[in-house]
Symmetry: C2
Subunit: 213 residues, 2 copies
DNA sequence: TGACATCGATTGTTCAACAATGATAGCCGG
DNA sequence: CCGGCTATCATTGTTGAACAATCGATGTCA
C-alpha cells in the first residue's frame, strides 16, 4: 500500500481535475486537513508537490489556491505541446504498444460522444494525446505532458462549455490515427500540427468570449 | 525576503548540484535538519519539491538519497534535449534577448577554458543551452530544461572527469552561435542535433568506462 | 551455514504551540 | 461622506515533541 501522503497527493489532484474545487478557489489548510482527515503538515507536503506540478498556486502567507490558467498559460501550454507531440508522432513506430492505447482512446471518445457525455469525451481526448507522447518512451517528456495536461483541464473547467471544446476533435482523432497507420509518422505529425493550432484557437476563442460576457 | 522553505529548497539544490552530497548519498532527516538549523517538517517539504524535480529519490520508509542517474536516465535526458533545444533554436530570433546570454556564456566558457577551470566551463556550457531554450519564451519548457539540466549535472558528478566532458564543447558553442547568427535558426538546429548526439556519446562513453573500472 | 526472531534506528504522521504576515473592520480626520 | 490609518483577527510558517510503522541489522538457534 502506498504512503498516505502519496495517496493524498493523487486524491487531491483527481479532485482538482474533476472540478470539485473550482479554479481560483482558496484551499484552507485547517479546514481541508480536517475534511480529509490528515494533519496540516502532511497536507502541506502534498501541496508542495501539486504546486511544483502547477496545479495549485502558492503565495507566501496567503496560502494556496487552485490554479486558474489564463490566456498566457494556454498559449504556453500549446506551445509546449507543439514542441513535443508532433515530434513524438513523427518518430513513433506503428508497432509501439502505445498505439493500442491510441486506438482505445479513439473508440472511447466515439462511444462517449454518442452518449453526449462530454466530460468523458474530454478524458478520452487527453488519453489519446497522452498515448501519442508515450510513443517517445521518455519518462521526462511524459511527466511534462502529464503536468500541462492537468493544467489544461483546469482551463477547460474555467470555460465550462465541454461540448464545443471536446466534441469536434473525436473525428479528428480517428482521422489522425488512420493517417499515422496508413501514411506514417511524418504525415501524421503535419496533420497534428494543424490539429493543435485549431485546438488552441478553439480554447482561446472560448476564453476571450468569457472575458467579454 | 522569501520564505525560509523556498530559500532552503534553493540552498539544498545548489549544494547537491555543487557536489557537496555525492550522488547516491542518503540524506538523513534528523541530522540534515539539525545541520541546516530547520525542523524536520520544513526539511521534508523541501524534500518533496526536490524529489518532484528529480534531484533526489524518495523511497517510502527508507528516506531520500541524492539521485544517481544511470545510463537510462542519461539517454532519456538527451532525448528530451533533442526534442526541445533544436526546435527552440530553429524558431528563435537573432534579436531575442537570450542571444546576449548565449554570447556571454560562450565567452565565459572560453575564459574558463584558458584558466582550466573545468567546473566553471561546465556551468557556462549549461548556461549556453539554457539560453537556447530561453529563445522559446516558454516557462514550461524552461522548467523542464532546468530540471533535466540539474539531473545531468549529477551525472557529470558521477563521472568526475570534467575536462573530457566540458572542454570539447567550448569551441562548438562558439561555432553554433556563429552559425545561428550568420546562417539562421534551421541551419543551427541541424548543427545542434549533431552536437547533442556527440555530447550524449561522450557522456555515455565515460559512463561505460566507469562501470568497467 | 542458513533461516528466523528480536532489536534499534529512521521515517511517517499527528498534535500543539507560537511567531509572522496579510486582510479586515472600525476609527479618525478632512 | 470619504479616504487613510490603526488595531484586531484569522491564516500561514515553523518548531518541537511524541508515537506508530517499517526497514535493516544483529544475534540466536537448529
Amino acid at each position: 500500500m502506498p504512503d498516505v501522503e502519496d495517496t493524498l497527493t493523487n486524491a487531491l489532484r483527481r479532485r482538482i481535475i474533476d472540478g470539485e474545487f473550482a479554479p481560483g478557489t482558496r484551499l484552507s489548510e485547517i479546514s481541508l486537513a480536517e475534511k480529509l482527515g490528515v494533519s496540516r503538515n502532511t497536507l502541506r507536503e502534498a501541496f508542495r508537490v501539486l504546486a511544483e506540478q502547477g496545479l495549485i498556486e502558492h503565495v507566501p502567507h496567503r496560502g494556496v489556491s487552485v490554479a486558474s490558467p489564463g490566456v498566457a498559460d494556454v498559449v504556453d501550454i500549446y506551445r509546449a505541446r507543439r514542441y513535443v507531440e508532433p515530434a513524438a508522432l513523427a518518430a513513433g513506430s506503428p508497432l509501439h504498444p502505445a498505439v493500442t492505447a491510441m486506438r482505445e482512446a479513439v473508440e472511447q471518445g466515439e462511444t462517449s460522444l454518442e452518449a453526449r457525455d462530454w466530460r468523458t469525451v474530454g478524458t478520452a481526448n487527453m488519453a489519446f494525446h497522452d498515448a501519442i507522447v508515450a510513443l517517445a518512451d521518455s519518462p521526462r517528456l511524459e511527466r511534462l505532458f502529464r503536468d500541462i495536461a492537468a493544467e489544461l483541464r483546469l482551463a477547460f473547467l474555467e470555460i465550462d462549455n465541454p461540448e464545443a471544446l471536446h466534441a469536434p476533435f473525436v473525428t479528428r482523432n480517428r482521422a489522425l490515427l488512420e493517417t499515422f497507420l496508413e501514411q506514417g509518422g511524418p504525415a501524421a505529425a503535419a496533420e497534428l500540427q494543424e490539429y493543435l493550432v485549431l485546438s488552441e484557437r478553439t480554447v482561446l476563442g472560448a476564453f476571450t468570449r468569457l472575458r467579454h460576457g
